[in-house]
C-alpha cells in the first residue's frame, strides 16, 4: 500500500522535475535552425543545435554521390552561421528547409531568383530574367534568359515562372502575400512573362521585390509532387526533396547531421552569363554546435565565409590572421535592419507621446552598440530608413533633423517635468495620478545581444524616473505576447531585410493600422496597435508614388513617426554578417575594391558574384 503511494508520488515528482528543468538556466538552449532570417536573428551566442543525437552510423542520407568522402580543402568553400541543427528537409514549400534552400535571402545556389538584389545600391541585376520593364502603370514585363535550364537538362521557360508564382496563389506559402497586389501572371511566349497588378490595389514596390525574392521551381518536378499529395499543402510540406532540381550552379552532394555539402554543376547554364563557372567545386556548411565552435573553426581557417555574430572581430586580424570584414573600420558591417522597441499604445503612461519620446532620449545608444553589438552599430540616427545611401535618399534629411532625438538625459528629464510628471518618494515619476512604471520590457531569452540592449534601456529609464523591468521569456511566449499585444514594451525587428519594398514595408510594419487585430487577437505587424489615419493614408499612397512625390510622402511619414514615437530603434544590425578568412580562398569582395559585389555572404543575391572572383 505504501509503496503505491510512493510510486504515484515518484511519477508525479519526476514530471514536476522535468517541468522544473525549464526554469534551470544552463548551457543547453534553444535551437535556431534558421538563426538567420532577415533581421529576426538571434545572436545565438547560446544557440545550440536542435540536437543531432543520431545514434552512431545512422542519419546520413546521401545526396548525389553517396559516401561522406572528404572534399579537397582547396576546392571547397566552407560557410557557417546559416544552419544550427540537423537538416529538416530541402523542400522550399515546407517553410523550414535546411541550407541551402531558403526563402527571403535570395540564396542563388540551387534555386535561383529572376533577378539578383544588390544591397549596396538596391539595384536588381539580371539572372534568370534578363530585363524587366513597366509597360504601363499596371504591367511588368520580364524577359527571361534563353540559355537558362534546370540541372536535369530541361529548359527553363515562362511556364516555370507562372507555375512558381501561382503556387503562392494556390497555397499559403512565403510568397502568397504578393497576390494581394497581383492580378495575374501570364506567359508571353516561352521567354517572357507579364505580371499584371490589381487595378484597385497596385503596388510596384512589392511586385518588384517579388522578382528578386521568389526562388524559381521546376514545374515538371513539382506538379507531380502536388498531384501525389492531392494538392494538400500539409502533405506537400512533408516532401523531403533530398536532391532538389534547380537552375543554380550547385547541386546537392552529401549531407548528414554534421554537414551539408554541395557540388558544382559543370553544365551550369550561367557559364554563358558569367563567362565562367564559380571557383569552388564544393560548398560545405558545417553544422556547428554554437557560435563559439563556429568562431573557433573560422579563426583556424576551417571556415572561409562566416555569417556569425563574432564579438570583437578586430582581434581576429590583430593576431595576423588573413581575416577581413566588408568595411575596413568600425562598424565593419553594413546595416540591414533596425531592432526596435515597440510601445503598447493602450498602456497608461505609455500612451503619452512625450513619455515615449523621453524614453527614446534617455537611451544610451552608444553603450548599446558597444555592449550588445560589439560596436558594429553606427551612430543612431532615428528614422524609418536605414542610414545607408540607398535608403536615406527617400527622406529629406534636413527636414527631419529638428525632430530626431539623441541621447540627452537632461532633455528627457526636462520634457517629463514640462508635462507635469513629478517624481514620487521612490524616485519614480507620477503623471496625472499614473505612476510611470513598472513597465515590462520583453524579448526572447537567450538572444544575448537583445537581452543586453534591454538591460541598458531599463537602466537608462531609471535615470529619468521611469521604472522599466526586463522580462525574458522563451521565444514562443514572446512571440505570442507580441502578436496578442500582451506587453508593455517589446522588442522586435520590423521588416528586416534589404529589398525594393523597403523602407515602405518597414514603415508599414511599424505604423499601418488597417488589418491589425485588436489586442487579445493576433496581429502580425504594428504590434503596439498604433493608430493614425494620416499615416495610414500616406502608407497607402507611397507604393504608387514616384520620385519627388515619394520623397515628400516619406518625409511626411517620418515626421509623424518622430512626433508620435510608436517605436524606437535601438541599434543597426547587418542583414547578414559577412566575415571572411582568406587562408584558402583569396579575393573576397570588400568595400571600395571597385567590384560593387555586395557583402551578401558570397551566395545570396548579387553577392554570389564573389564566387567567380575568388581564387586559391
Amino acid at each position: 500500500m505504501r509503496r503505491n503511494a510512493i510510486t504515484v508520488m515518484l511519477a508525479g515528482l519526476l514530471l514536476m522535475m522535468s517541468m522544473l528543468a525549464a526554469c534551470s538556466n544552463s548551457q543547453a538552449s534553444l535551437s535556431q535552425t534558421n538563426a538567420q532570417t532577415g533581421g529576426k536573428q538571434t545572436d545565438s551566442a547560446s544557440s545550440e543545435p536542435a540536437g543531432t543525437a543520431s545514434a552512431p552510423d545512422s542519419g546520413s542520407r546521401p545526396g548525389n554521390a553517396g559516401d561522406a568522402k572528404e572534399t579537397p580543402r582547396n576546392e571547397t568553400l566552407y560557410i557557417n552561421g546559416l544552419q544550427w541543427g540537423a537538416p529538416t528537409n530541402f523542400n522550399l514549400l515546407s517553410g523550414n528547409p535546411a541550407f541551402p534552400i531558403n526563402y527571403g535571402n535570395s540564396r542563388e545556389l540551387i534555386y535561383e531568383t529572376l533577378f539578383m538584389i544588390n544591397m549596396n545600391d538596391g539595384k536588381l541585376e539580371p539572372l534568370l530574367g534578363s530585363s524587366y520593364t513597366w509597360t504601363d502603370d499596371k504591367t511588368l514585363r520580364i524577359e527571361l534568359n534563353k540559355d537558362a535550364k534546370w540541372s536535369d537538362g530541361q529548359p527553363f521557360t515562362s511556364d516555370d515562372v507562372v507555375y512558381t508564382y501561382k503556387l503562392g496563389q494556390k497555397y499559403e506559402i512565403n510568397w502568397t502575400s504578393y497576390w494581394d497586389y497581383i492580378q495575374d501572371v501570364a506567359a508571353d511566349g516561352p521567354n517572357a512573362v507579364k505580371i499584371t497588378m490589381k487595378p484597385d490595389n497596385p503596388n510596384k514596390l512589392t511586385v518588384t521585390e517579388s522578382i528578386e525574392l521568389i526562388p524559381m521551381l521546376p514545374k515538371h518536378i513539382w506538379e507531380p509532387i502536388e498531384q501525389k499529395a492531392g494538392n494538400d499543402l500539409a502533405a506537400i510540406r512533408k516532401e523531403f526533396n533530398p536532391n532538389p532540381v534547380g537552375t543554380g550552379p550547385y547541386k546537392m552532394y552529401f549531407y548528414n547531421d554534421q554537414k551539408i555539402t554541395l557540388i558544382r554543376d559543370d553544365n551550369y547554364w550561367g557559364k554563358a552569363l558569367f563567362g565562367k563557372l564559380p571557383a569552388p567545386k564544393y560548398i560545405t556548411h558545417v553544422i556547428y554546435k554554437d557560435n563559439a565552435a563556429g568562431d573557433l573553426a573560422f579563426k583556424n581557417g576551417q571556415v572561409d565565409v562566416s555569417q556569425q555574430f563574432t564579438p570583437q572581430v578586430w582581434k581576429m586580424w590583430e593576431g595576423g590572421a588573413p581575416i577581413k570584414t566588408y568595411l575596413k573600420d568600425a562598424p565593419y558591417y553594413l546595416p540591414g535592419s533596425m531592432p526596435s522597441i515597440f510601445f503598447n499604445m493602450s498602456k497608461k503612461g505609455l500612451d503619452n507621446a512625450s513619455v515615449r519620446r523621453a524614453i527614446a532620449m534617455a537611451i544610451d545608444y552608444k553603450k548599446i552598440s558597444q555592449l550588445a553589438m560589439s560596436g558594429y552599430s553606427a551612430d543612431m540616427k532615428p528614422s524609418l530608413t536605414l542610414d545607408t545611401p540607398s535608403e536615406s535618399q527617400y527622406v529629406d534629411q534636413a527636414a527631419i533633423k529638428p525632430l530626431q532625438w539623441t541621447t540627452d538625459v537632461d532633455g528627457a528629464n526636462k520634457l517629463l517635468d514640462s508635462i507635469g510628471a513629478k517624481k514620487g518618494k521612490d524616485g519614480i515619476r507620477v503623471l496625472n495620478g499614473q505612476r510611470l512604471g513598472p513597465y515590462d520590457l520583453e524579448c526572447p531569452y537567450g538572444w544575448s545581444d537583445w537581452n543586453a540592449a534591454l538591460e541598458i534601456v531599463a537602466q537608462n529609464a531609471k535615470a529619468i524616473g521611469i521604472e522599466i523591468r526586463t522580462k525574458f521569456p522563451e521565444q514562443p511566449v514572446w512571440n505570442n505576447d507580441l502578436q496578442t499585444g500582451k506587453f508593455d514594451i517589446i522588442m522586435n525587428t520590423p521588416a528586416g531585410n534589404v529589398t525594393p519594398s523597403n523602407p515602405w514595408n518597414r514603415a508599414r510594419t511599424i505604423m499601418y493600422s488597417k488589418g491589425v487585430a485588436p489586442i487579445g487577437e493576433m496581429a502580425f505587424w504594428n504590434w503596439g496597435r498604433y493608430k493614425n489615419p494620416q499615416a495610414d493614408e500616406i502608407i497607402e499612397k507611397i507604393p504608387t508614388a514616384q520620385g519627388d512625390d515619394a520623397k515628400k510622402l516619406y518625409t511626411e511619414l517620418t515626421k509623424i513617426w518622430l512626433t508620435d514615437v510608436p517605436s524606437v530603434p535601438l541599434m543597426y544590425r547587418p542583414w547578414e554578417f559577412y566575415t571572411v578568412n582568406e587562408s584558402v580562398w583569396k579575393g573576397f569582395p570588400v568595400d571600395g575594391d571597385g567590384s560593387n559585389i555586395p557583402p551578401q555572404i558570397a551566395i545570396d543575391g548579387a553577392g554570389i558574384k564573389a564566387l567567380y572572383q575568388i581564387t586559391n
Partner: protein
C-alpha cells in the same frame, strides 16, 4: 482465486490507475505553459507574408494539423488513441520529425551514460560500504564522512563543479555534446575515443554520487546485520568469521538489490539535469529543448517514457517480491 492471484490483480489495477494519472499529467502539464506552440514553425512559414489573412491561415492550418485547436478533452482522447497505436505524434519544433524517432535516437545516449554509472556506482559503493562496516577503524572513519559529503551534493551541482574544474579550467575534457561535432558517427577508434572523452565528465558526476549513496546504505545495513542475534550466536558456536561474514553480507544485500532494480528503472529519467548541464544528446537535453520550444508532443513523449520506465520497474519488483519475499507472502495470507 488464490492469495497471490488476488495480490497480482490488485497491484495491476493500482498501477493502471497510476499510469492513467501519469498520462493525464503528461498531456496536461505542457499545455499549461503559456505561449503559442505553433509559433516557432508558423513564424518561419510566414516569413515574407504581409497580409493578416494569409498569416492567420497559416497559424490556423498548423493549429489544425497539430490538433491544438480542439478542446482539451478531445485532444486528450486523440492523444490516447494515438498512444495505443504507438504513435507519439510529430514534433512541433523539429517538424516534421517523428517524436518516436527522436526518442529512439536519444535513449541510447541516456542509457549509455546511466547504465555504466549505476553498475559501477553500485558495485564499488557496496564493496566500500561492506568493507567499512566490517573493518571499522581508520578506513571507516575516512570513508564514511567522505561518502556522506559526496552523497549530499546534488549531482547536477557536482556536474557544474566538474565542468568548471576539469572542463573549462583544466581543459582535460570537452564541456558539451556526445561526441566531437565535426565527426560523422562511425565505428572507428577515433570516434569511439571521442565518445569516451565526452562521456567522462557526465559519467563521473553521476557515478561519484552513486558510490557515496550506495556505500552509506551498505554500511548501515551491514552494521545492522553484524549486530543481529544470529551473528552473536554463530560466534558462540565457533563458526568461522569468514562464513559468518558471508551470511551477513548476503542478508545486507537484499535491500541493495531492490535499490539496484529501482535505479535501473529510473535510469531514463535519472540524469535529466546532468545531461542538460553537459548538453549530452540524451532524453534530458531533448526534454529541455522541447520545453523551451513548447513542443507538446516531444515534452509528452519524454515524460511519458520516463514515467513508463519508472512504473514498469516498480511493478516488476512488486510482482517478483510477491513471489520471493516471505514477508509479503505472509501479508497476503493474513488478508485472506
Amino acid at each position: 482465486m488464490n492469495a497471490y492471484t488476488k495480490y497480482f490483480v490488485k497491484k495491476t489495477a493500482w498501477y493502471l490507475v497510476t499510469l492513467l494519472i501519469a498520462l493525464l499529467l503528461n498531456f496536461l502539464l505542457p499545455r499549461l505553459i503559456e505561449g503559442n506552440p505553433v509559433s516557432a514553425i508558423a513564424s518561419q512559414v510566414t516569413q515574407g507574408m504581409t497580409d493578416s489573412d494569409s498569416i492567420k491561415k497559416v497559424y490556423e492550418n498548423f493549429m489544425r494539423e497539430f490538433g491544438v485547436d480542439k478542446p482539451l478533452y478531445v485532444q486528450f482522447g486523440i492523444y490516447l488513441r494515438h498512444l495505443f497505436t504507438g504513435d507519439l505524434g510529430t514534433s512541433f519544433g523539429l517538424y516534421p520529425r517523428k517524436v518516436s524517432d527522436i526518442l529512439a535516437s536519444a535513449v541510447p545516449w541516456t542509457v549509455g551514460l546511466q547504465l555504466p554509472a549505476i553498475l559501477v556506482g553500485w558495485i564499488l559503493g557496496n564493496v566500500l560500504g561492506a568493507v567499512a562496516a566490517y573493518r571499522r577503524g581508520v578506513f571507516d572513519k575516512v570513508l564514511f564522512p567522505a561518502a556522506l559529503f559526496v552523497n549530499s551534493i546534488p549531482f547536477f551541482t557536482l556536474a557544474i563543479i566538474l565542468l568548471y574544474l576539469l572542463g573549462i579550467t583544466l581543459k582535460w575534457f570537452p564541456i558539451s555534446g556526445g561526441y566531437d561535432f565535426q565527426m560523422v558517427p562511425h565505428f572507428g577508434l577515433d570516434f569511439i575515443g571521442s565518445v569516451i572523452r565526452h562521456h567522462t565528465l557526465p559519467f563521473l558526476s553521476i557515478v561519484l554520487v552513486a558510490i557515496g549513496g550506495q556505500a552509506i546504505g551498505m554500511r548501515e545495513m551491514s552494521l545492522y546485520e553484524l549486530n543481529a542475534d544470529y551473528v552473536l550466536y554463530s560466534k558462540l558456536l565457533g563458526i568461522r568469521d569468514s562464513r559468518v561474514a558471508r551470511y551477513v553480507f548476503k542478508n545486507a544485500m537484499l535491500p541493495q538489490i531492490t535499490g539496484l532494480a529501482l535505479s535501473i528503472g529510473t535510469m531514463v529519467g535519472g540524469s535529466l539535469i546532468c545531461e542538460i548541464v553537459f548538453s549530452y544528446p540524451g532524453i534530458g537535453t531533448w526534454l529541455f529543448t522541447a520545453i523551451r520550444q513548447l513542443d507538446y508532443p516531444l515534452i509528452s513523449g519524454c515524460t511519458l517514457l520516463i514515467a513508463m520506465t519508472v512504473l514498469l520497474a516498480n511493478f516488476t519488483i512488486e510482482i517478483i517480491y510477491g513471489i520471493v519475499d516471505p514477508r509479503i507472502k505472509a501479508a497476503q495470507m493474513e488478508e485472506n
